[in-house]
């Protein structure tokens, strides 16, 4: 396998252009590659002008929700009365997603530059880069890059702090992340108020994903029109996106694609298809929190925000998890549920008890002790867990369960009916 893999002709290298090039990690090396040019330009522009450029480019949040970035920035108070903050969400913990990690590993200055530009756009003087605690190497590289850039005076009066997480998935949720920065338990907050009004330390705050911010400098240097043009399907999804492919493919890894690229081509051309003798069974295209696609849906899916929704799932973070015909879908879904049960912040009743109960039932089924009523109970629980909680963690747990039962019901029933050998011990 090896990483970075050799670029594929069908990739569009913008963010990943310098992946694998250690010199790009240094301040000098980055400047030599045209880095910090966008930041220089941004400093000549009014904050609103930067926001307008980003709006025009059609850039949407790459963390999962796909919210238009320029619009988000424009929510910040224009008439600044309190300190403004920028939070950079580098707490990449979504199972199957590993794109932000590579950006921080190879092109830390792209992120820092994007951060500085965003800070100017939203009039923030302080930014917190909240880096997942397990990311030791990316953190070290980011720290080195920040030190070099700061030493070179790249950011003037702007203060960028790196903040390390302590191993909670939920801290990637924007308001939980803010609580965590404040030193509190990482519980998501009720919205409204939204971060633009009441964010970190109660001050107006914008929070952006690593990949989103890393995409900002090229937009400034090449112009929004250039970015907007990169769209293969729906004009509402523009630019390039990193897709982290994992699972049963020959060549897993990060692939940077223009929005609207067919999922089938990604799996069978860029990733080399299934292992010999295996066929595609299912795919989760947007990180573990989105509904599962079966084979037909996968092959018909286009990789942009609208294309995914058309197939009944979501583009999410772009973490593509692939299953071939050897996969035990009940087991896979139990693993996902167990993950969410472990990571629930436990605020909301439905999530705390629902994720644990769902896991318990799935474990029971896998242990050959499932009851006939269990599938109904699971669907009932999932119904209870969808759309009722403060954040979407419990929805995320319910999504694969509901779509899994819908699409692979036979596998569940086989375990319950004792037609399949139990794989877990009760």
């Amino acid at each position: 396998m090896g990483y970075p893999h050799k670029p594929h002709a069908k990739e569009t290298k913008v963010l990943s252009k310098y992946f694998g090039d250690p010199e790009a990690r240094t301040y000098k090396g980055w400047v030599k590659r045209g880095g910090y040019e966008a930041w220089r330009q941004a400093q000549t522009l009014a904050p609103a002008a930067i926001t307008d450029l980003v709006k025009e480019s059609g850039l949407r949040g790459r963390g999962g929700a796909g919210f238009p970035t320029g619009l988000k920035w424009s929510f910040m108070p224009k008439d600044k009365k309190k300190p403004h903050y920028l939070c950079v969400n580098a707490d990449e913990s979504e199972p199957g997603t590993f794109k932000d990690r590579e950006i921080m590993r190879w092109t830390p200055h792209a992120l820092l530059e994007g951060t500085a530009i965003a800070m100017r756009a939203i009039q923030a003087e302080v930014a917190y880069v909240y880096i997942r605690g397990e990311f030791t190497e990316p953190y070290a590289i980011m720290a080195q890059a920040l030190a070099e850039a700061t030493a070179a005076g790249a950011f003037g009066d702007l203060k960028i702090h790196l903040h390390r997480g302590a191993g909670a998935y939920i801290c990637g949720e924007e308001t939980a992340l803010m609580n965590s920065i404040e030193g509190k338990r990482g519980n998501p907050r009720i919205k409204p108020p939204f971060p633009a009004a009441f964010g970190v330390f109660g001050m107006p705050t914008t929070i952006n994903n690593v990949e989103t911010l890393a995409a900002v400098p090229p937009i400034l240097t090449n112009g929004p029109a250039w970015y907007k043009k990169m769209s293969l399907s729906n004009p509402k999804s523009t630019g390039t996106k990193l897709f982290s492919v994992c699972g049963h493919v020959q060549k897993p890894g990060n692939y940077e694609l223009t929005m609207g690229f067919p999922l089938k081509d990604l799996l069978f051309e860029l990733c080399g298809g299934m292992r010999p003798g295996r066929t595609l069974k299912a795919c989760i295209p947007g990180g573990s929190s989105v509904p599962i696609l079966d084979r037909a849906e996968t092959e018909a899916c286009l990789l942009d925000y609208e294309g995914a929704v058309e197939r009944g799932t979501m583009l999410g973070s772009g973490g593509v998890i692939v299953f071939d015909d050897s996969a035990d879908m009940v087991y896979q879904i139990m693993r996902l549920a167990r993950f969410y049960a472990h990571e629930s912040c436990a605020q909301c009743t439905q999530c705390r008890e629902g994720t644990a109960w769902t896991t318990k039932i799935l474990e029971r089924i896998l242990a050959g002790q499932g009851k006939a009523t269990d599938l109904d109970l699971l669907l009932d629980l999932s119904e209870n867990m969808t759309g009722k909680t403060i954040c979407v963690l419990s929805d995320s747990c319910a999504a694969p369960v509901v779509s899994g039962i819908k699409k692979f019901r036979g596998e569940f029933e086989d375990y319950i009916a004792g037609k399949r050998k139990p794989v877990l011990v009760a």
């Binding site: 472990h342 439905q350 008890e353 109960w357 119904e383 209870n384 009722k388």
Partner: protein
């Protein structure tokens, strides 16, 4: 106003209200809530209050969604109700709810179970549960609060109550996912986490997962849930005057809860540890249930005659004096078993030994007495009081009234001594409390009470300046309000020689040497004047005499003061600027200022600072002497002080005298025009007092020089003590009259913010003990002052006739939050703050009184190198008569301790818990040491609650010239390690 529709009903709401608030305000009460609680931050995590809102794809939390114009809410939509069932079902899967299996016939035990029954949710049958019961920290061995976390529904009300109401932060949510639990500190030990046992968590818990231990030990659960009655009363401890609900079963208070938070009581639903857990002393086995007469009194030929020993033996007994009693400590309570699960404890430990059985009154103390009938006891008392009056005149008699008793009782006792015995020798513990404040406030403002309210300090003050008040321990509910004010953004400046909790939290802590407050406040004023920060319009319009003060502060620059006080000049300047800039600064002080031989000057210098900055007479700029006892304000208001009748009307004025004589039905001449003696003057040989009546006070522990006091009391011709227990003072009595506790009486009390509140009788006095008022009325009649009253309400009707500022008070009007006087008419709503227009002086202006700094009377020297400070602890009250007989409280602090700085302790070779001998120029005692950096180097702190190490043996009895206050806060002592006695 916002218009919206809820359940088809059109209602209006404030734009900032939530759907839940709007619904409840409109009487739509059926939106269920678990995590929501009045005044707690909204977290919206239980998700049971979700409602349907037209046009919204998802259900919305009613508790966290603001109303909007035109909103159409369906609280009982199918989706909403299904969600509620779902939530309850999920919670019930981990809840021991087997008793709820039978659905409609189930008897719900708590808030949560009521919802379960209401929504018809049926728990999984026993044995079929998919999820295990929850667990969490259990506080095993805790004498007051325990947890049974299997019934916890993780609503986190307790966590928020601890963090946001009490601002303590002991409880938290630990772990995550299904392992989530409520934790106590980091390791389950409430002690280490800083718990104050306020019980706020008990109050807010919707399932009883956090519960009080004591009721469970004494009553069946069914009895606790369904008491005979619940009676509103007033907490018997500090001057905050918390209203409490007494739950009564079998004529016993079984538990105390606080009234709903929505009611406008001073405590707004909170209590402190004393209020919630210190209620069981009235049932202590030491409680007197029959009058006692000293053996030796015999009735011969219709008269009582003393036939016992004379001289020193006259009032002797098998006991030692307080001085000699040094190490007769009570045995320690059972050890707490921190870190073990409740289930691991042996049964004995689980139940806790009832430590009330630790003999607070030694058996030998009863020996010199015999039980008597009421007729005998009152007859003897009447005979002796009248005999002494006849032989030596009324001024040979004196009484200590009680700040623990109601206004009505104090009034009747005052009336009895003035009307029947013709003396003004009536005083109570205000003398050792805020008498210097009253003296200073009388001079400057002609007032005797706080100008403002506690809630303006909490909600409106920008700066809170606290001088010599350890509010979080002595007035914990108010202390929490101050902490909340600081969280709201108020700046906190604390002047205190000790680093108390508030000092530790303060924005500026002025840690001065004890007794140097005048220098500190004067230097602050010096800086304010030098910078021109004083409130010139206020000074010009509302005060006189500022020029003299301006002159007098000139020399005391912050630099000079820094040398005297030990506070850096820069800090003094900063504090001064914060104080002066306000814009609304509230000024609080308590015993740290007043209990000095120059207490009046100390308070006067603070008042000068306050007046110069104009920090009075506006909402948020309050002058608050924080009162100690629950009725020290009221006892003074109704005239239980030697110079005045009710409403501070002078005894020297014949016109006023005539008015009282008329109301009392006595000839005017029988009332004395001579001002009486004060507490500290009475207990002196030159006072000429030979007979005393003491109601509910214990001067042998609280007098500033108790070795002398004990000697003086032994020399009396006659001493009657009216109390609940055979106190250290009562053991020298001729007659001991068993009275009623706070729970056993109806009467009114005045708190520190002039709020008159009504306490109602919850139980009858035990045995032959009588209502205090009944005793006083009968004594009054026997002494020849006809008193037709039978109830407290009758007495109040007479009080309001002679008390103009209470004229509008009736018992009916006192229902609810009470009334803040002045209440001059029946329609007057009471007065939350005073002096917005004028001061009650003759010209309506406040008077500046120049004050010179003088050092404390006793400074440390080579022989006595430490400064000793005295005061109170969180868990005890004054001489410990009540709290040392309250199970939970006494277990928290069972023995006397002295706080000493770690550096000093190390230099002396003293370790935590070691005994040390503390010696002042007057006396010596042995006490165990608690090493704490709350005290500065060179200082020690000794609480005055403990008879076995009575702090007031050591204190300096030198008196304030104006108020006759003693120097209780500052005396020089020597400290040596003491050997541990072989047998304890």
């Amino acid at each position: 106003m916002t218009r919206l529709v809820i359940n088809g009903r059109s209602i209006t709401a404030q734009p900032d209200q939530t759907i839940l608030e709007a619904a409840r305000a409109a009487g739509i009460d059926d939106i269920p809530t678990l995590c929501w609680y009045p005044k707690l931050p909204v977290v919206g995590n239980c998700r049971i209050c979700l409602v349907s809102v037209e046009g919204q794809p998802k259900l919305l939390p009613a508790c966290a969604t603001q109303v909007a114009d035109g909103m159409v809410v369906q609280a009982e939509s199918h989706a909403a109700v299904e969600n509620r069932r779902g939530v309850l079902r999920l919670l019930l899967e981990r809840y021991p709810g087997d008793h709820l299996i039978n659905g409609g016939r189930a008897r719900p035990r708590n808030e949560f179970e009521r919802y379960v029954v209401r929504y018809g949710v049926v728990p999984t049958p026993p044995g079929g549960r998919d999820l295990p019961l929850r667990h969490g920290d259990e506080r095993p061995g805790d004498s007051m609060i325990r947890h049974d976390m299997s019934t916890c529904v993780l609503c986190t009300r307790c966590v928020r109550a601890c963090e946001d109401i009490q601002v303590v932060g002991v409880l938290d949510v630990g772990q995550r996912g299904e392992h989530t639990e409520i934790i106590v500190g980091a390791d389950g030990d409430p002690d280490k986490a800083g718990c104050t046992w306020c019980g706020e968590c008990v109050r807010v818990c919707p399932t009883g997962a956090i519960f009080e231990v004591m009721p469970q030990q004494r009553f069946a659960p069914e009895r606790i849930r369904h008491p005979d009655r619940v009676v509103r009363s007033v907490c018997p401890y500090c001057g905050v005057g918390c209203q409490v609900d007494l739950h009564v079963a079998d004529n016993t208070v079984l538990r105390v809860t606080s009234p709903d938070i929505e009611l406008d009581t001073p405590n707004q639903g909170s209590t402190c540890v004393k209020g919630r857990f210190g209620y069981d002393f009235p049932q202590h086995r030491d409680r007197l249930t029959k009058p006692l007469i000293r053996k030796g009194w015999v009735k011969e030929g219709g008269r009582w005659t003393w036939r016992g020993p004379t001289g020193r033996e006259r009032r002797g007994g098998p006991w030692q004096t307080i001085e000699g009693e040094g190490q007769n400590a009570k045995p320690a309570g059972p050890p707490r078993s921190v870190g073990k699960s409740l289930r691991e404890l042996s049964l004995l430990e689980r139940l806790d030994l009832d430590i009330r059985d630790r003999g607070a009154t030694p058996a030998s103390w009863y020996e010199p007495f015999r039980e008597a009938s009421w007729d005998e006891a009152l007859e003897l008392t009447t005979q002796e009081l009248l005999r002494i009056k006849g032989a030596r005149g009324g001024d040979a008699l004196a009484c200590f009234s009680s700040a623990k008793c109601s206004n009505e009782e104090n009034y009747v006792l005052m009336r009895l001594f003035r009307g029947a015995l013709g003396t003004n020798n009536i005083d109570h513990c205000t003398r050792l409390c805020h008498s210097t404040s009253v003296a200073a406030m009388q001079r400057a403002l002609n007032t005797s009470a706080a100008s403002g309210s506690m809630r303006e300090v909490e909600h409106a003050a920008d700066v809170i300046f606290i001088a010599g008040a350890n509010t979080t321990e002595s007035h914990p509910v108010f202390g929490a309000a101050i902490k909340r004010a600081q969280q709201r953004g108020a700046t906190l400046v604390v002047a205190d020689p000790r680093r108390t909790e508030l000092a530790g939290r303060a924005d500026v802590h002025l840690q001065m040497q004890p007794g140097t407050d005048v220098a500190l406040f004067t230097a602050m004023l010096n800086h304010i004047v030098a910078r021109g920060f004083e409130d010139k319009p206020f000074i010009a319009a509302r005060t006189t005499g500022f020029d003299a003060v301006r002159q007098s502060v000139r020399a005391l620059t912050p630099e000079v003061a820094a040398k005297i006080t030990g506070v850096p000049a820069e800090l003094i300047r900063r504090a001064a600027e914060i104080y002066a800039k306000g814009p609304k600064t509230s000024t609080l002080w308590a015993m740290g200022l007043t209990q000095h031989a120059n207490g009046t000057d100390l308070v006067a210098s603070l008042l000068n600072l306050m007046l110069a900055c104009g920090m009075i007479g506006r909402w948020g700029a309050a002058m608050m002497p924080v009162r100690g006892q629950n009725n020290v304000q009221g006892a003074s208001d109704v005239g239980a002080i030697p110079f005045v009748y009710t409403d501070y009307r002078s005894v020297k004025d014949p016109k006023i005298r005539a008015e009282y004589a008329h109301v009392w039905g006595v000839p005017a001449e029988s009332l004395s025009l001579k001002e009486g003696l004060m507490v500290t003057e009475i207990v002196k040989h030159e006072s000429g007092v030979r007979g005393m009546y003491i109601m509910g006070e214990n001067p042998i522990i609280s007098d500033p020089d108790i070795a002398h006091a004990e000697h003086w009391f032994r020399e009396l011709e006659f001493l009657a003590v009216h109390d609940l227990f055979l106190t250290e003072t009562a053991r020298y009595a001729d007659v001991v009259l068993p009275g009623s506790s706070f729970a056993e009486k109806t009467g009114t009390f005045v708190n520190t913010e002039r709020r008159i509140q009504l306490a109602r009788e919850a139980a009858t006095p035990p045995g032959d003990a009588r209502y205090d008022l009944q005793i006083l009325i009968e004594l009054s009649n026997r002494l020849g002052l006809k008193t037709a009253h039978t109830t407290a309400q009758d007495v109040m009707r007479e009080i309001v006739r002679v008390t103009p500022s209470w004229a509008g008070v009736t018992y009916e009007r006192l229902d609810g939050a009470g009334l803040q006087y002045p209440v001059p008419t029946a329609a007057h709503p009471g007065t939350a703050f005073l002096f917005d227009q004028r001061f009650p002086t003759t010209d309506g202006k406040a008077i500046f009184v120049p004050v010179e700094y003088g050092p404390p009377v006793e400074l440390p020297d080579d022989a006595y190198p430490f400064v000793m400070n005295t005061g109170r602890q969180l868990y005890h009250w004054h001489t410990g008569t009540m709290t040392r007989r309250a199970t939970g409280l006494d277990q928290r602090e069972p023995t006397a301790i002295m706080e000493i700085n770690p550096a000093d302790a190390a230099a002396l070779g003293i370790e935590e818990g070691d005994l040390a001998r503390v010696t002042s120029r007057r006396n010596s005692l042995v006490i165990s040491c608690r090493i704490s950096d709350r005290v500065a180097r060179g200082q020690v702190f000794v609480p005055f609650h403990f008879r076995e190490a009575a702090a007031n043996l050591l204190t300096n009895p030198v008196l304030d010239p104006y108020a006759k206050m003693a120097e209780l806060k500052c005396c020089a002592v020597r400290i040596e390690p003491a050997a541990v006695p072989a047998v304890r």
